[in-house]
Amino acid sequence: MSEFSPRIEAFLAEFRSRQEEFKNLSEQVFDLLRHALDGQGIEINTIECRVKSEKSFVVKLGHKGEKYHKLEDITDLVGLRVVTYYTDDVDKVAAIVKNLFTVDWEKSVDKRKRQLDSFGYLSLHYICRLREGSWPFEIQMRTALQHVWSAVEHDIGYKGDVKLPPEYQRQFSRLAGMLELADVEFSRLRTTMADYRRHVRALVKSGRLDEVPLSTDSFKSYLELRPFERLNRRIAAINQAELYPSSPLPFMPLLESFKLETIGDVHNFIEENTEDACQLAISALAMTDLDILSDTIGLQNLCFVHVLKQGMGRVGVKYIYDVINGEQESNFVLADIIVKQASSLPFMQKISNSDVK
């Protein structure tokens, strides 16, 4: 004899018979949504889909069975969850969902608009259909922090339907408030950083380089002007070498250690040292047949010239290798080679002469 009532047995039989249909629906919705989100360039933490398990289905019927007249009334048999990094992006995802699917507004719920004394789980749930009359499915949209909250809440076993002592309610409220605040602040920070990047890019493009503090962001914007290209091409021409793309960002700590405070300082550093850096590279490469070079080759030689002009000698050159290559004693061998190659160049001779005077 069955452990379930005839009514639940009937629901269960239909639920089982439609498994293939549910699986196809969940995959179809997943693909449509994934494609649309990619197209809009929204960075998503995770997107997942599932068909409700039989166990969970039975539990749900046990709790709320009388509420449902037919299987279609249970709207989360097929469910998708989209987890975003930023709270603003939940609304963007929601807008995309609205465009893609038919949303049942009566059954959809924005739990983010709960009353303030109902602490905790904040998330946006839309009940959707591919088109009028097709099978419903649920899409949950939330941020990564809301997801964390939900996971912890589930682990603790609190579902909001148990009356908690006030001191525990306060703990939940404090945590919920903290996470909500963090979500808002992350979004605000992203907007602020985007504004700053736009501002820096505008200053760099307009040539007001002295007004732009040197930072990873501003340096990246400056690189769009290809400031090392002319020097790299001159060096590559020595052996008709191919230039292999490589990020100059590992050189940032060096530029900062040279006390270059603005992009204007970096620009002047390039202008002042380009000719000598080119001569130094020629003295190193002309006797070789090396025809592939990193496109940081110009910047590397600019740094060598800078420290040698500062009178820092082999210790200064070793420091450059320590920064870009990892600190090791054998960098002295490389530094000595650079110092020797530079010794016959005009800029070093000027330094020697001024030392004698």
Binding site: A241, Y244, S246, P250, A284, L285, T288, D289, L290, D291, I292, L293, S294, D295, T296, I297, Q300, Y321, I324, N325, G326, Q328, S330, V333, L334, I337
Partner: protein, 100 residues
């Protein structure tokens, strides 16, 4: 030019011996193919017995690095003599590889 491939623990290790110049590059490239199946495991290029590397050799190392990085693998170079080290330094490739 001779190469020897070994799996040491989870690492894929290739030992290089001799001169990795243009004439040896094609054969070495074929022998290095096994390293492209790194799938997240570290790759170690042991250059203790490598006497010389030309641009062709550098290209082989760079090509391997380019393929290994997206798979989450690190490419380490060990045992380089001063001449080899100088080649990497002169070409500006020291900051691309990890040296042990």
């Amino acid at each position: 030019m001779k190469t020897t491939f070994k799996e040491e623990g989870k690492d894929l290790v290739m030992y290089f011996e001799g001169r990795l110049d243009t004439s040896a590059a094609a054969q070495t490239e074929r022998e290095m193919q096994v390293l492209y199946n790194c799938d997240g495991h570290d790759v170690i290029l042991d250059c203790t017995q490598l006497e010389y590397i030309s641009s062709s050799g550098l290209r082989l190392f760079l090509s391997l690095l380019k393929a290994a990085k997206p798979k989450g693998s690190h490419v380490y170079i060990t045992g380089m003599n001063d001449n080899l080290r100088q080649v990497f330094a002169m070409t500006g490739f020291t900051n691309l590889f990890e040296f042990k």
